[in-house]
């Protein structure tokens, strides 16, 4: 449909309800699409097709054209797997609260196959959901009908250029598998999520924050070039200098503007790292110290991980002995945190005068006994240094925080707003859960990548650095008796995100179940601009529908 819409147009959606879409500030040329398979304003607070904010799954696409579409794909030699138990493999994501069944699964082989798939999907108006590691938590990588494109089928490293410190890889590869290949040449990636099984493509589209991001930025900023299959099936190479507009949209673009099939990434010489832990009883002090270290470029790695808001762990680590020595001489004495012995003593005193809090004390002891050894497993240490930091952290993350249900709402702000925002959100966590973890890190920004950051997890007012904090309730074995309904979890996320709206923050996970926040956070002008671009690039809105738009 080629009709276009101008400012102040109001469209009633397919359900005839109140999803009026008013473009207040801009005179944008937003192509209108077929209403009926898609709401008029896919980013309204009730944009999940007639579903209220508290609820989760969007309406499942289920059109009779599927059969014809499958035939067309088979004629073009694209294998589509329709067995229910294979679709079921992808029924949810790491969050385990959004459930959807694709009609069929395509395992990615190469860009040409994906191009054929997307062209057919446009022709038959069949939604295609792209999935890498599936480590989203808001259902962003869950297909509510249509095709699930499993990118992990494209997991080969294509070329390592040790001289120019870059690697070309297929984009479905897990960061850990990439690290395995790089380490054979004594190289390492720059930064990646601490979970080993997120994919390169899935990460470049959403961010990729590591404990070295305060120094090296997020993974998305480390991509040199990409091969992308656009929603209409063109195979395009893009970078800051070639097809830069597409590059800007695909990086941090939540899979809206194309499927990333290959990526050229910066890499670096591998180094083991010297780790230091400092323990605080005050969250704000710990964050202030973290920001002081980051602002002065003191360490190579830094971040905060809490056991409780009373025991806050500041992690500081170094790639080189020189920087570690400089830290010890110039900065160590300025940190207000304690060593392990110091915090144990402080906690012992605290619980001696607060004996009714014995459960808390037991929890802390249990946590210390199970968690600390994980971070020091001898097979991952050499001469006191950690040799496989991602393995060490990721295994601990999965073992101690992972379970079949996870919610990890987050907030990203400018450095100035961070302490206050985290403290407010900490109170919300406390209200909902007896045990939860906060994970805070800095993210260095690239001035030349400002266009990439628009409508992304990077807050609009952050200039040189942004700060992110994840809030993760413990729902696994540790808390087997603590089962939470999806409504409770959704209310928790909403309360955290409401703080973000109030302070002008952004979020890592603003898609999927949280997309009702998009207009509130980014404002109509920015959202309408992106919606117009999306509709132009993807006339039938087939690619990653319901993630953002």
């Amino acid at each position: 449909m080629s009709a276009s819409r101008s400012a102040n147009a109001v469209i009633t959606n397919a359900f005839g309800n109140n999803a009026a879409f008013t473009c207040r500030t801009l005179n944008l040329d937003i192509p209108v699409i077929d209403i009926g398979t898609f709401p008029a304003d896919p980013v309204a607070a009730n944009s999940l097709q007639g579903i209220k904010r508290q609820q989760t799954n969007p309406k499942r696409w289920n059109e009779p054209v599927w059969g014809e579409f499958v035939l067309a794909l088979r004629v073009s030699d694209v294998e589509i797997i329709e067995q229910k138990f294979v679709s079921g493999t992808f029924a949810t994501d790491a969050g385990g609260t959004a459930y959807g069944m694709p009609h069929g699964v395509v395992i990615a082989k190469d860009a040409a196959q994906i191009s054929t798939l997307l062209q057919a999907a446009q022709q038959y108006k069949v939604p295609v959901t792209v999935r890498g590691g599936g480590l989203t938590t808001e259902g962003e990588s869950v297909a509510f009908g249509g095709v699930l494109l499993d990118m992990t089928g494209m997991s080969r490293v294509l070329k390592i250029d040790a001289e120019n410190l870059s690697v070309r890889t297929q984009a479905g590869i897990f960061w850990h598998s990439l690290a395995e290949a790089l380490r054979r040449q004594n190289l390492d990636y720059l930064s990646a999520p601490l979970n080993m099984t997120s994919s390169v493509g899935g990460t470049l589209g959403v961010g990729g924050i590591d404990v070295n991001s305060a120094r090296l930025g997020c993974s998305a900023d480390q991509a040199i070039a990409l091969q992308v299959v656009t929603p209409t099936g063109e195979i395009v190479e893009c970078s800051d200098s070639e097809n830069s507009e597409l590059f800007q949209r695909v990086i941090l673009g939540y899979g809206q503007f194309g499927v990333i099939t290959e990526a050229t990434l910066k890499v670096r010489p591998y180094t083991p790292l010297a780790m230091h832990y400092f323990y605080y009883t005050s969250l704000s002090e710990a964050i202030a110290d973290l920001q002081m270290l980051d602002a002065n470029d003191v360490s190579d790695y830094s971040g905060i991980l809490t056991m409780m808001d009373k025991v806050v762990n500041l992690l500081v680590a170094f790639d080189s002995d020189q920087r570690e020595t400089a830290f010890k001489t110039d900065w160590l004495h300025r940190l207000r945190g304690h060593g392990e012995f110091g915090i144990a003593l402080k906690m012992a005193l605290y619980y001696a005068v607060h004996p009714w809090r014995w459960r808390e004390a037991l929890f802390l002891r249990e946590r210390k006994n199970t968690l600390f050894p994980e971070f020091r497993r001898p097979e991952h240490m050499r001469n006191g240094k950690v040799v496989d930091r991602t393995v060490v952290f990721s295994r601990a993350v999965w073992k101690h925080w992972g379970s079949r249900q996870m919610v990890i709402p987050d907030l990203a702000t400018s450095p100035e707003k961070f302490i206050d925002t985290v403290q407010k959100a900490n109170l919300v966590c406390k209200k909902y859960f007896p045990h939860y973890t906060l994970y805070c890190v800095g993210i260095k920004l690239r001035a030349d990548h400002a266009p990439h950051y628009e409508m992304s997890c990077i807050p609009p007012d952050a200039v040189t650095h942004a700060y992110g904090c994840e809030f993760e309730p413990m729902m696994g074995d540790l808390n087997a008796d603590a089962m939470y309904s999806r409504d409770t979890l959704q209310s928790f996320k909403n309360e955290i995100y409401d703080i973000g709206v109030a302070v002008g923050a952004s979020y890592y996970r603003f898609g999927g179940m949280m997309k009702g926040y998009i207009r509130r956070v980014f404002g109509d002008a920015v959202v309408d601009k992106h919606l117009a671009m999306k509709r132009k690039a993807d006339p039938n809105m087939i690619l990653n529908r319901d993630v953002i738009f």
């Binding site: 138990f85 493999t89 992990t152 479905g172 897990f174 099984t197 001898p378 991952h380 999965w398």
Partner: protein, 312 residues
């Protein structure tokens, strides 16, 4: 250790894929523990998963990686048990080929060999000498090849057959086992008897350790290693530190398997697997624990390949 869990505990984290040779060669999630567990959560039958179950080499690298502590190998043998494809029994009595059978076992240590060792009498003799000669170690006439086969294919083991097999082993102090699957089962079947893998037993001997060099590339046999990963990781880490050699360990500290002695490895090309193991490495010598790996490495590299028992 906590009790092992079943497929319903799978969270879909994919960590089991990272060291899996079948995943490495196919990048097809259906052929992985993740794919199998999730498919079973969605109602797949053993028949639905036939190809997946057949493709597994039982190298065991996935199981220690699973944060949910799922019995991933048990899952495969359980599925094989329900599939007619895996009902082929191996004849008992293949063991008559042994070079030095002990009619009446009276030695403190008994060695259970595997197929590859049965075909290499010189190496077997060398192993016997390492453990003090035939007065100290006896080679079992019945090596239980058929039992190992049944374990892998999920075939119920005949009680009488098992009792006959175990009877001479019960009276000994230590059993050294070349076959990782059998070694794992014997630990349960022979309480009170020390059951170790051939690799661990040899690599513990001072005279063997003395012969290892820092320029060696040491290839751990993966089945026994992964079956007792939590304990053996320290043993091999210590060996690595003491000698300074490199090993076929990946970043998760799983042993990258060649799969050369796997019964089912149709989806994995052993040569490609060996090439991956050696990528970026230039050892002066390759030292293997699994006899089948001698030929596997020999096909791909000119670097000398020796068995751990044949170091000079």
């Amino acid at each position: 250790m906590n009790a092992k869990r079943n497929y319903s505990a799978c969270s879909g984290c994919s960590l089991c894929l990272l060291s899996c040779p079948v995943w490495r060669s196919t990048h097809d999630i259906r052929l992985t523990p993740h794919g199998r567990a999730k498919a079973m959560q969605h109602g797949a039958s053993a028949n639905d998963l036939r190809e997946s179950v057949e493709s597994c080499t039982l190298c065991g690298a996935c199981e220690p990686a699973c944060p949910e502590n799922i019995d991933l190998l048990g899952m495969v043998s359980g599925l094989r048990a329900s599939s007619p494809l895996f009902k082929r029994r191996v004849e008992v009595g293949m063991d008559g080929v042994l070079p030095a059978p002990t009619d009446e076992i009276s030695t403190p240590t008994i060695l259970l060999i595997d197929h590859a060792l049965a075909e290499n009498p010189a190496l077997l003799e060398s192993i016997i000498q390492h453990f003090g000669g035939s007065l100290a170690i006896g080679v079992a006439r019945d090596s239980g090849f058929d039992i190992s086969h049944d374990l892998c294919d999920g075939i119920a083991i005949d009680e009488e057959r098992l009792a006959n097999f175990l009877s001479p082993l019960k009276t000994t102090l230590r059993v050294i086992v070349a076959d990782g699957h059998l070694q794992h089962a014997l630990k349960t079947w022979l309480p009170g008897v020390t059951v170790v893998s051939l690799g661990e037993a040899l690599s513990t001997l001072p005279q063997v350790r003395q012969q290892l060099r820092d320029s060696d590339f040491y290839v751990i046999e993966s089945v026994a290693f992964h079956r007792d990963h939590a304990r053996l990781i320290s043993h091999y880490d210590n060996l690595r530190l003491t000698i300074g050699c490199t090993m076929n360990l990946d970043l998760q500290r799983m042993a990258i398997p060649t799969t050369a002695s796997a019964r089912h490895s149709g989806k994995v090309n052993v040569d490609d697997q060996v090439r991956w193991i050696l990528e970026g490495r230039q050892p002066s010598r390759i030292v293997v624990e699994d006899v089948a790996d001698i030929a596997a490495f020999g096909r791909v590299t000119d670097t000398p390949v020796v068995h751990l028992a044949n170091l000079i």
